[in-house]
């Protein structure tokens, strides 16, 4: 089991009530821990919304923080004296007593790395090794990305942290990055777009807000992914949560997300989350899986079955029931067209519906940059086309990790490193050994790691997204519309 070392106690205000919290927690986690479940309302002010993604990607926790509305409190760190108010519908314009003008800073590093998940961390460290100056920005108030909530030991080669637990890898790499003098880190720093003359705009929030104008020679965007939502009645009721959201509560903050849970989706994430819920003392009613077969690995399925968790294949969720939070949930069997069969409904008393129905790469940064994109179902959605060295059709913009198509953390490390090595070679900081190292990594990635039958689908997707350098040249010249 995991030990939670809690930070210093701090006090803040929520709707004028004093709340005790621990430094290092997000505002939302602190509120969740003491029983709050509703964190905002739909734009018409009628429908309550709860925590869903916990990583700043779904907008269902928008609140007013120190007078500023629409703040995502799941990535807002608690601080002494913070004043937080819930919002109902669209907010009023910000109430500001005194304007703190954001200072503009122009930075010209060799490389800008966007995203401090495994892909971005590994890319930064590799680039720094070659003496390149790196600016690393992440929207969250801490580094690590999705890795901080992985409690299991990693599979695979020692070089890629096999045998170590995810969050331990995250803290090790974060420390190395922080201590590296070639890497400058900005947290709560959102990269919002790339503009004429190659400037990337980054908004840094906090007591001293900054406008960074970063003009790098190359960019690695390891911006990760967001959880998918599916359609069913009341899918916005508090208690309907992404699997990653529940993982964040349990594994990052040591908070039990609820008492009884129903998991939707029996892929690896669904199976693992069910197991982690059981360990956290949550009763798991079952796992509904729309396909006739379980998608995740046999070992994971066997593990939850041993605890008596039933896996309902050919079933989907049809509705969540409750007034301002989930009280019951209904699943039904589906026919060959995936339509619910009337009369097959089962209702569970539950306060949690956890969606483990897949992730979708964050594509906004690439689209805005003008990269040629392709919709690839095997990779979870829209991704930029890239060469095997991970350069997109926007020259010197590289993609790595989940943003390049959903796989998992090990490939995120590897892709981060391949992108970094390619940049080092391009910028003249590498040598023959660098080229050799890159070839070895590519060989390992494509001919060994991705050959495992369990990652077939993603591998096929990555093949579809990868073009040769000649093809990429044609795409850039507008002679080829993409493949």
């Amino acid at each position: 089991m995991i030990d939670f070392s809690r930070g210093r106690k701090v006090k803040f205000y929520y709707n004028d009530k004093v709340i005790e919290a621990y430094e290092g927690e997000s505002v939302l986690a602190a509120l969740y821990a003491i029983g709050y479940r509703v964190f905002s309302y739909s734009p018409d002010g009628e429908r309550p919304r709860g925590a869903f993604c916990m990583i700043g990607k779904c907008s269902s926790c928008l609140s007013m923080v120190n007078g500023v509305p629409n703040t995502r409190i799941c990535i807002e760190p608690v601080r002494e004296g913070l004043r937080v108010y819930s919002q109902k519908g669209f907010p009023e314009v910000p109430k500001v007593e005194e304007v703190v003008e954001a200072e503009t800073i122009v930075l010209k590093p060799d490389v800008l790395v966007i995203g401090g998940g495994p892909a971005g961390l590994q890319a930064s460290l590799t680039l720094a090794e070659y003496g390149l100056k790196v600016v690393l920005v992440d929207e969250h108030f801490k580094l690590g990305g999705q890795l901080v909530k992985q409690t299991h030991r990693f599979f695979g080669a020692k070089k890629f942290y096999g045998g170590i637990r995810g969050f331990n890898i995250a803290s090790k790499l974060s420390r190395e990055v922080m201590d590296n003098e070639n890497i400058e880190v900005f947290l709560r720093a959102y990269a919002y777009g790339i503009f004429k003359n190659g400037y990337v705009g980054v908004a840094v929030r906090g007591e001293k807000p900054l406008n960074l104008l970063v003009r790098p020679k190359a960019i690695v965007a390891g911006v990760g992914a967001s959880e998918k939502m599916i359609m069913f009645e009341n899918n916005d009721l508090p208690g309907v949560m992404g699997a990653g959201g529940a993982q964040t509560l349990m594994n990052e903050y040591g908070i039990k997300p609820g008492e009884r849970a129903l998991v939707i989706g029996a892929g690896n994430v669904g199976l693992i989350i069910a197991y982690q819920l059981l360990q956290a003392g949550v009763k798991v009613h079952g796992i509904a899986e729309i396909m006739p077969k379980i998608g995740g690995w046999f070992v994971h399925a066997a593990k939850v079955r041993r605890y008596g968790v039933k896996i309902y294949t050919r079933h989907t969720i049809t509705k969540a029931i409750g007034r301002d939070r989930v009280e019951k949930a209904e699943i039904a069997m589906v026919d060959e067209h995936f339509q619910p069969i009337p009369g097959s409904e089962k209702v569970f008393d539950t306060d949690l519906v956890l969606l483990a129905v897949g992730l979708q790469p964050n594509y906004a940064f690439f689209s805005q940059a003008g990269a040629v994109m392709k919709y690839i179902p095997e990779l979870g959605g829209l991704v930029p086309l890239r060469t095997k060295y991970l350069e997109t059709s926007v020259e010197n913009l590289y993609v790595a990790g989940d943003a390049s198509g959903i796989e998992e953390a090990t490939t995120a490390f590897i892709e981060g490193e391949i992108a970094a090595l390619s940049i080092a070679i391009k910028l003249g900081a590498g040598n023959n050994k660098t080229i050799k190292k890159r070839e070895e990594l590519l060989d390992y990635l494509w001919n060994e790691y991705r050959k495992s039958p369990v990652v077939m689908r993603a591998c096929q997707g990555k093949l579809k997204a990868t073009v040769s350098e000649e093809e990429m040249e044609k795409i850039r010249r507008g002679e080829l519309d993409g493949i």
Partner: protein, 379 residues
Amino acid sequence: MVMKTRIAIIGAGIIGVMIARFLVEKGVNDIVLIEKNYPGSGGSFRCATGIRASFTSPEHVEMMKRSIELWPILSEKHGFTYRRDGYIWLLSEEEHVEMFKKIVEFHHRYAVPTKIITPEEIKEMVPTINTENLLAGVYDPLAGKADCFRALLNTLEYVKNKGAKVLTRTKAEKIIIKDSRAQAVETNKGVIEAEKIIVAAGYGSKKILKNSGVDIPLENLPKHALITEAYKPLFKPLLIDWSTASYIIQVLHGGFLIGANMKEKPDTIPVNRIEYLYLAVKIWSKYFKWLPYTRILRYWTGYYVMTPDHHPVIGPHSRIENLYIATGFSGHGFMMAPSVGEIMSQYILGEKLSVPIAKNLKLERFEKGKYVKEIAIFG
């Protein structure tokens, strides 16, 4: 493919759609709209949705006044929002106040009810505004805004239900003209024969007409705009900062849309410039100190399709029979669309014009050197 129709309209922007709307309203349903992309994809979905009659030429004033009579009727019939929320020009220099006094006099001659107001009156209509540097404002209560998405899409749905066809992803290349008569539209997907052909393709009109042997003096002027996240209604009027010719409007769904002037060369492809975000926020945070604390949701570029006298080209071609043109709206085509639709339907069906002065807006004015005159360049 060869298709036959009574009326072919090139361009499914707000102008093309409104022309179709006034035709079907008079029982003409045999219409084909030819659109190279998708409806609204040109200027119409990028606009700031502002509507006013407070212009400085009789042509503009009369056309816009008719539009303002039509907007509520259309909004009621097609179920989109239109509101008379007003415009306010914010004036911080003495000479501007003097100039606007003359403009207001001109407006009153044409029954446009603008008036000079005090900074206190501005504050009453625009909570949270800092009026420190303001000398006065000019208020136009007749002005307003409409939902540009629903206005176009609902109206299009209506004309489709009446039998009009829309060909999307279909690009008009040229108009086939024989014996000084327009006969058909050549597209990338085939030829469409028509009794009457209307070119309402924004800047695209220039190329189509050139390929058909007709010159039209149009320039594409790049423009930038941004919008914030949505907030509860704060103020109704569209505000114009006269010294920078920049505007801010809280659009109907709640976001604040800002347009500010960037130096751009005509006929160039606009790109995203980070300076634009700085410029827009700098101008308007002087008035609203909360602005830097809002999030910008989107930033986009578009064009004003300009003519030499900044007035549109509306009406039949003087020498080519059955060819009609409606373009060059110089940044005001959304507000004018209803009266343009009506006037064009009247030209096509040989009816009397509801705005007689519209006859000054035909293409031939440029050949004859008879430009439309304004008492001041404004807005």
